[in-house]
């Protein structure tokens, strides 16, 4: 059955709830491997909930159906010289998945990219949601204006809830102007520790860094540290040269300004392309930046890519390695993004029992019969 409207979704879920039939929610199907395996009797596709219902460039606002392809939204924004601020990752190459990423899937998994270090995560740009909860009830929260503190912020709660609290039908975002120019400062051969120091130094400068990554093995096999500056041409030229002076102690730097090359470089970081064609499990670890190199040191068997100034580590490790035992004493969280059967290795760090109780309580309220993506978040 094709679900074309919110009413269709509400009816479908209402029926499933009455019969306690477990549903697996699917948008474009490109990120189905994220989270733990879940029990399901049937699929619920949001793919037909398409279309941009409102786009006001002067209000920096866009509203679209959850099934709208991400690419459609990006194209519409590009026409007006705007973009989604959080640079969502495309998981297809890393996970070997096919299909078309949808905006609903991006929100359900709270997918962000390198720009998150400056512009915030998907949840930070998300300003409104419509959803259908596990009882088939339609719920709306937030709206289409960027400043809104009317009632509880269920918008944030829904972002990253992986469908367990409800099925998104419509989402609204604050968008930003796309920059005129991009420049990237490149440093070669740095150790993890000095690279993260260099990134911190750049991020602690007033030059508005919009991307800060380090890879242990770049395309040429040597470590590469990348710092991105965006904006109007003159301003970018000024800030990148200031950064070059600031980071002079870290060796000679190169500046890349070719639009195709800078775009490809950051896509490579964003989509973790370096691990795409290589065997092994991939973990994603979030810590404070200064702990980034410690994480890598504790995982001598891993290849690491650092984003977010060192605070996000992508680690490629031998299959079925549970890296969490090696991360004792470091605050943050780790989840496995790619790897064998999800039920054999717990994908997340163990949780504080009070937090777990709250989460369980919320799921029980929004999905009392446990029919939505059951078990996907553990």
């Amino acid at each position: 059955m094709t679900l074309k409207t919110e009413t269709d979704v509400a009816k479908f879920i209402g029926d499933a709830n009455a019969k306690v039939r477990k549903l697996r929610i699917v948008g474009g199907g490109t990120r189905q491997q994220l989270g733990k395996d879940c029990e399901s009797d049937a699929a619920l596709s949001t793919a037909a909930l398409t279309g941009i219902s409102l786009y006001e460039p002067s209000a920096l606002t866009i509203v679209a159906g959850a099934g709208t392809p991400l690419a459609d939204i990006q194209e519409a924004l590009a026409v007006e010289g705007q973009r989604l601020p959080f640079e969502p990752m495309d998981h297809r190459s890393l996970l070997g998945s096919t299909g078309t990423p949808t905006i609903g899937g991006v929100v359900a998994c709270n997918i962000s990219g390198p720009a998150r270090i400056q512009a915030g995560a998907c949840r930070d740009s998300l300003i409104g949601v419509c959803l259908v909860d596990g009882t088939g009830t339609v719920i709306k929260n937030g709206g289409r204006v960027m400043k809104n503190v009317t009632g509880y912020d269920l918008v944030k709660l829904m972002a990253g809830s992986m469908g367990t609290l409800g099925v998104l039908t419509e989402v609204a975002f604050k968008v930003l102007p796309a920059p005129e120019t991009t420049a990237v400062l490149l440093l070669e051969g740095l150790t993890d520790v000095s690279a993260v120091q260099a990134l911190s130094k750049a991020l602690c400068s007033p030059y508005e860094v919009s991307g800060a990554a380090h890879v242990q093995k770049g395309l040429d096999g040597v470590p590469v540290t990348m710092i991105r500056i965006e904006g109007f041409e003159k301003s970018v030229a000024y800030r990148i040269s200031q950064l070059q002076n600031l980071l002079a102690d870290y060796g000679e730097s190169a500046i890349e300004t070719d639009p195709e090359r800078t775009k490809a470089g950051w896509k490579w970081v964003r989509d973790v392309e370096g691990f795409s064609d290589r065997l092994g499990d991939v973990w994603r670890i979030s810590v404070k930046p200064v702990d980034g190199p410690k994480v890598a040191k504790n995982l001598p068997y891993a290849d690491c890519l650092f984003d977010w100034g060192g605070g996000l580590i992508w680690a490629l490790v031998p299959e079925k390695t549970d890296i969490r035992k090696d991360l004792q004493g470091i605050s943050g969280f780790a989840e496995r993004v790619r790897g064998g059967a999800q039920d054999t290795v717990p994908a997340r760090l163990a949780q504080n029992p009070i937090v777990a109780k709250i989460e369980q309580g919320l799921r029980a309220k929004f999905d009392p019969n446990e029919i939505l993506n059951t078990g996907i978040m553990g």
Binding site: P179, P206, G311, E335
Partner: protein, 477 residues
């Protein structure tokens, strides 16, 4: 303002409850003498007053936990309070409640410049967070007008914004983690000094929950390096429509100013009378501020001035010095004070889609005539957050009610054109009874379910946010 009937059984147990609280807090941290309680009878929404039963002023997370354990066991309602600057009555007491004030908890616990965060106790004032990192050229971005006095606890509770949030976001975008004491006294850490956490985004729903889910005692906040400089330009226009069109064109051109402030003629006139800021006589005045190095600022202001000139401004004044910048901001910053000098006022803060600005201002003008009350508009134009100030005379019988009716009509209009009731002040008691104009019963039910999970007995700040008729059954449990 209708508030729940106080529970006589609880009020009869006041002395026992005081005794229990004194066992876990220093003597001077428990206030229960009626004359001392008066200081806590209202917040900055002074139209409504009610002295609480008891006030406690704990100094640590452990003390907060001990207090909440007692209140939870005794079934005593608790109203958390930061600095009491809420314009929405978020800290308005009930007669049977314990006010839990966090003002004594104002320490800086940790600063980390490499990782760009600060951890503070929640009673610390907003401006003093910046004060703690300023010598290293850092700042904490959200800047509510009350930032000299307001506490981080209140900022987190209301998800406070400010003039500069077009570029830097509001509290929720700058909050990394909290220590939360649940109503039953359990202490839980949510989030931390890293960007992404596992599981549901509880931090996101705690921020902005108006103190109804738990008491935030510590917060980890993102700090940013100060820009090299900032400079405003002042523009005057013939009509609100033209000023609104100019704002649209600036945003569409890809320039993202750090602030775009809008003042209408009544506001400008009041400000001129009071602050003598030298504002032009115009229907609408815009202040647009950009940041960066001198050259970057010149470049951005050139772009902005070119756009403005297409709209035939009656005045276009670029600041050339720190003094001139201060003069341009002086009027805007004095706006509330200027209105307060004329009369009592009620400050609304509905948000509208930016393109609806001319229509909404025209309709507010018509309502002003209908109600016979003057109104002046200050407005964060970049993000659509309005601040109509309705003037009334608190000593004149019926004027407050008239003003409230006017305010309600304005807020309904904000919702009607696609906006919301409150952009940064919160619902509190002030907008509680209007919630059904923006949300359906199902929408509110979904929000109340969240409270059911965090505070099943509905003891924390329970008479706020939701219309009493919606929350009655839950509070009576």
């Amino acid at each position: 303002m209708e508030m729940p009937t106080p529970d006589i059984r609880i009020m009869n147990q006041k002395s026992q409850i005081v005794q229990l609280l004194q066992e876990v807090l220093p003597k001077e941290a428990v206030i229960f003498e009626p004359r001392e309680l008066h200081a806590y009878e209202c917040d900055a929404l002074t139209a409504y007053k009610c002295p609480p039963m008891i006030v406690v002023l704990p100094s640590s997370t452990q003390e907060v936990s001990a207090v909440l354990k007692i209140c939870h066991a005794q079934g005593v309602p608790v109203v958390p309070r930061g600095s009491g600057t809420s314009l929405a009555g978020g800290a308005l007491p009930t007669e049977d409640c314990v006010i839990l004030g966090v003002a004594r908890m104002n320490a800086v616990l940790e600063t980390n410049y490499d990782d760009r965060y600060i951890r503070v106790q929640s009673g610390r004032t907003n401006l003093s967070v910046t004060g703690a990192v300023e010598e290293h050229d850092f700042f904490y971005a959200p800047d509510p007008s009350s930032q000299l006095a307001c506490a981080i606890a209140g900022n987190v509770a209301m998800n406070s914004g400010g003039a500069h949030c077009l570029k830097y976001g509001v509290t929720t975008n700058n909050l990394l983690g909290v220590t939360l004491v649940m109503m039953d006294g359990e202490v839980v850490e949510i989030g931390g000094a890293y960007l992404d956490s596992s599981g549901l985004d509880l931090l996101g729903v705690i921020c902005g929950s108006e103190g109804q889910l738990g008491v935030v005692t510590e917060a980890t906040l993102r700090i940013l390096r100060k820009p090299e400089g900032a400079r405003p330009v002042l523009m005057g226009f013939d009509s609100n429509e033209v000023a609104g069109a100019c704002v649209s064109d600036i945003i569409k051109a890809g320039v993202l100013p750090v602030a775009i402030e809008f003042m209408d003629r009544p506001c400008v006139e009041a400000v001129e009378d009071f602050a003598k800021a030298g504002y032009p006589t115009a229907e609408a005045v815009l202040i647009v501020e950009v940041e960066g190095s001198d050259a970057e600022i010149d470049d951005q202001l050139d772009k902005i001035k070119k756009i403005a000139l297409k709209h035939n401004p009656v005045e276009l004044r670029e600041s050339k010095s720190a003094d001139e910048s201060a003069a341009i901001w002086a009027g805007r910053k004095a706006a509330f004070g200027a209105m307060g000098r004329i009369n009592d006022y009620m400050c609304l803060d509905g948000t509208i889609p930016v393109n609806e600005l001319p229509l909404v201002l025209r309709r507010i003008g018509e309502m002003s005539k209908k109600y016979g009350l003057k109104v002046a508009n200050v407005f964060h134009a970049g993000d659509g957050n309005m601040h109509p100030l309705i003037l009334f005379d608190a000593n004149k019988p019926g004027d407050l009610e008239l003003c409230e009716a006017f305010g309600a009509e304005v807020l309904k209009l904000c919702v009607e054109v696609g906006g919301c009731l409150t952009g940064e002040h919160g619902v509190g008691v002030e907008k509680r009874d209007l919630m059904l104009t923006q949300y359906s019963m199902d929408d509110l039910e979904a929000q109340m379910r969240v409270k059911d999970v965090f505070d099943p007995k509905w003891l924390l700040n329970a008479a706020k946010v939701f219309p009493l008729s919606c929350s009655n059954e839950r509070r009576a449990k």
